[in-house]
């Protein structure tokens, strides 16, 4: 391919993020989806910073952990497993969506949704167990942290369930004829993020001291 003559300067600037439109090779126009992708990534980053703030608050209290007994309900392990499985099913649905298989995508998303709701139910059960053990929000700072961290994660997961349900419902209304892989991709990304956040929070809650 013949190289294009330089315009105003002898050296063209290196094109970052999609180029300056004058690069030597003809580049495809940036996909219209790019802003959506950036937007979701940045939103997820902001949520990550919210959890970072809460985690750092937890970590500075951690040296006093031994003074405030808190046995975690064992159902949390089962919940963790459920959420990890949901991430796998979500990823499977994304692969189906990318290959244009609308029906199996919907099955995968449906399974993910079911697992997500199961996780939420499990979290509520864990709360009940703690409450029955006499550990309330006000009891001490670590019981407070347990409720705040799980509730903040739960609220974000409810949003995630809503988003996945929206994608799933739209696909259902269109009877699986068209499916936007980008919508599946972005909601799957958010879902994986929430799984990672839960793993991190679960690790924090299991730390006995630092």
């Amino acid at each position: 391919m013949a190289s294009v003559k330089p315009l105003s300067k002898p050296r063209e600037p290196i094109p970052p993020f999609g180029g300056d439109g004058f690069s030597r090779r003809e580049q495809p126009a940036p996909a219209p989806s790019t802003p959506a992708r950036w937007g979701v990534w940045l939103a997820i980053f902001a949520v990550a910073m919210l959890f970072a703030g809460l985690s750092s608050a937890y970590l500075v209290h951690l040296p006093q952990r031994s003074r405030f007994p808190l046995e975690l309900p064992s159902i949390l392990w089962a919940n963790t497993l459920v959420l990890i499985l949901s991430s796998f099913s979500c990823q499977w649905a994304l692969r189906q969506a990318r290959q244009g298989r609308a029906l199996s995508t919907m099955q995968g998303l449906g399974l993910t949704l079911a697992l997500g709701v199961l996780f939420l139910a499990g979290q509520v059960y864990a709360w009940q167990q703690l409450r029955d053990a006499g550990l309330h929000l006000q009891t001490h700072v670590f019981s407070s942290f347990f409720y705040v961290l799980t509730a903040t994660h739960g609220v974000h997961l409810i949003v995630g369930v809503g988003i996945l349900f929206g994608v799933w419902a739209v696909a259902l209304l269109r009877q699986g004829t068209t499916l936007n892989p980008l919508a599946v991709e972005l909601s799957a990304f958010y879902w994986h993020f929430l799984t990672l956040v839960w793993l991190w929070l679960f690790l924090l809650l299991n730390l006995k001291a630092i």
Partner: protein, 594 residues
């Protein structure tokens, strides 16, 4: 806003409400931001007048005050708890609702799509939502004056336990809760806006607009948005915990303390945690303001020096370094809180280190001025005033950034003087410079130059005469946030100083009336900006009509061939060369592309 109705009307037809109230056009949203933020600035300025009155003549009763504030100033003297509410809301609304929102939501919103050659923001609806959430935040914050106990009174930093325990001060009742809710709304608005600015800058640049051809204004708002995205959610986390402490009986921040002779029992809280979470936003907030301010000033200085900006790449590298460093220096606000001395030393070093990129940028701007054909227009005067204030304020910062001297100066009037020079006034100057500079573009009319110059000189002298003496008082032991210097024997020596400062402060506040008059007079009666590029600038926003049409450009988006600061090129007849002027010898086809 009705002024430019006829200019937009031909471009798109929608109902008046959709076009001017619930608009998704970034220019309309930016104008809404500008009006709202200036309104908050006026209120903040009035609160400042009350503060100055109280510090100067707080021992004398005034019938006027009693009539204005029957509850806050019974007997004509401002009550202590009302005074604390005033300083809290003064600080909060001027830092967050005025300066932050004016720079990013107002001018950032207006300029980014125009300067990068885009038709609108990446997410126009999100942009609109961001404004409405911000407006809700303003309304909620102002309503707090009307609730029982009055507005929040724990200072703009709302340290626990003062801000947690309702019995601590009258404003820590419902007022404090409303403060937290308003801040939560503001954080959400900032995040929605910031996300939009970042994505728009990265994705919607027109053909030829590489990152290294972006004007400094756009870069400034971009980095401010990055800092906001990193730090504002952390304050949100802190605010959630504070709300729970206040209302659901948790004790994240509350230690076991005696308040008013009553033992308040808690379960393992740590009040220093709030200080960490707050200052993790609170300090970067300074750079959320400083970096866009520096960006606007860069554009203005290059244009009115008729010279390419000196060290464009160096300035952007400095922005990056400031963005990173700003997030790891918050501890210098906590030197007296019992911080480990070794950690204090690290924070000290990092704080002093951040003056390197800051100083680099100031030197680059000074070098841009050097041997330029300087035009002393009002925006240029404010830009030069900005440089002066930043240097003065930076020198005070050296004493506060060093842990050993800060131990003495902490919580004195020195701190108040310092941040009013380096942050409040310098950013205010940048906002004024930007207003005078872009007013013809936004509203299609010029602001009055003669009024503008009076405004500049009175403000410039007023700022120095008000805030520099505070440094001296602080060295002499005058505490900040104190209700009245008249009540303490050891502060008697500062009473005359406070009066003189108050006189200059009130002159400074009064001088802003000139700006208000100029603003509204020019909006309706100002000289028309028939030339779309009256300052003969190079950046893209000046290459479309004033005010720009709906969707900013005509049929075709502009194509960019060069950097934003090609002034006084020896090979061109004019002393400027707009970014979208094709180079000589390049044929331009119908759609503007070679």
């Amino acid at each position: 806003m009705a002024v430019h109705a006829e200019h937009l009307a031909h471009a798109h037809s929608e109902s008046w409400i959709r076009k001017y109230v619930f608009s998704t056009d970034h220019k309309v949203i930016a104008t809404q931001y500008i009006f709202t933020a200036y309104f908050m600035a006026l209120l903040g300025g009035l609160l400042a007048a009350l503060i100055r009155y109280q510090l100067g003549w707080g021992d004398q009763a005034s019938p006027l005050l009693e009539r204005l504030f029957p509850f806050g100033a019974q007997g004509g003297v401002i009550k202590p708890e009302f005074y604390l509410a005033i300083i809290t809301i003064h600080g909060t609304i001027l830092v967050f609702h005025f300066q932050t929102m004016m720079l990013t939501g107002g001018f950032g919103n207006y300029l980014i799509p125009l300067q990068i050659g885009a038709r609108d923001m990446a997410f126009p609806v999100l942009n609109m939502l961001s404004y409405w959430v911000f407006l809700a935040s303003c309304v909620v914050m102002l309503l707090s004056f009307l609730v029982e106990g009055g507005a929040a009174a724990a200072g703009w930093t709302v340290y626990p336990p003062l801000s947690v325990h309702a019995a601590a001060v009258a404003g820590s009742g419902l007022g404090q809760t409303i403060w937290l809710l308003s801040m939560a709304l503001l954080i959400v608005a900032t995040l929605m806006g910031g996300l939009n600015y970042i994505v728009t800058t990265l994705n919607l640049r027109t053909k030829g607009m590489s990152l290294m051809r972006l004007p400094l204004s756009t870069w400034g708002v971009f980095f401010a948005s990055v800092i906001g995205l990193v730090t504002f959610p952390v304050l949100l986390a802190g605010a959630i915990l504070l709300l729970l402490d206040r209302h659901l009986g948790t004790s994240f921040y509350m230690p076991t303390v005696y308040i008013g002779g009553q033992l308040v029992e808690t379960r393992g809280g740590n009040p220093l945690l709030w200080q960490h979470l707050f200052w993790y936003l609170g300090h970067p907030e300074v750079y959320i303001l400083a970096i866009p301010a520096l960006g606007f000033i860069g554009d203005i200085i290059a244009t009115f020096s008729r010279k390419p900006i000196f060290g464009y790449r160096l300035i952007i590298i400095s922005f990056v370094v400031m963005t990173i460093l700003s997030c790891i220096v918050w501890g210098h606000h906590m030197f007296t809180s019992g911080l480990n001395p070794y950690i204090a030393m690290v924070f000290s070093l990092l704080t002093i280190l951040i003056s390197v990129p800051f100083g680099t940028i100031i030197l680059c701007y000074a070098a841009t001025l050097w041997k330029g054909k300087i035009q002393f227009t009002t925006p240029m005067l404010f830009a030069i005033g900005f440089l002066s204030l930043v240097v003065t304020g930076g020198l005070g910062g050296l004493f506060l950034g060093t842990a050993s001297t800060d131990l003495y100066l902490h919580d004195t009037a020195f701190v108040v003087g310092h941040f009013h020079v380096i942050m409040a006034s310098s950013v205010l100057f940048a906002i004024f410079a930007a207003t005078y500079y872009w007013f013809p573009k936004i509203f299609g009319r010029f602001m009055s130059e003669s009024l503008g110059k009076w405004h500049f000189w009175l403000t410039f002298i007023g700022v120095y005469a008000t805030f520099v003496p505070m440094h001296v008082m602080g060295l002499g032991g005058m505490m900040r946030r104190i209700y009245s210097p008249h009540a303490y024997q050891y502060l008697q020596q500062w009473v005359p100083w406070e009066r003189v400062i108050s006189i200059f402060g009130l002159i400074l506040i009064g001088a802003q009336l000139l700006f208000v008059v100029n603003f509204f007079w020019s909006l309706f009666k100002g000289r028309r900006a028939t030339d779309p590029n009256p300052w003969r600038a190079n950046t893209l926003e000046w290459q479309t009509s004033s005010p720009p049409p709906h969707l900013n450009w005509g049929e075709e988006q502009p194509v960019v061939y060069r950097g934003p600061y090609e002034f006084s090129r020896p090979d061109t007849a004019e002393d400027y060369l707009p970014q979208n002027t094709p180079p000589v010898g390049v044929e331009v086809s119908g759609n503007g592309v070679r």
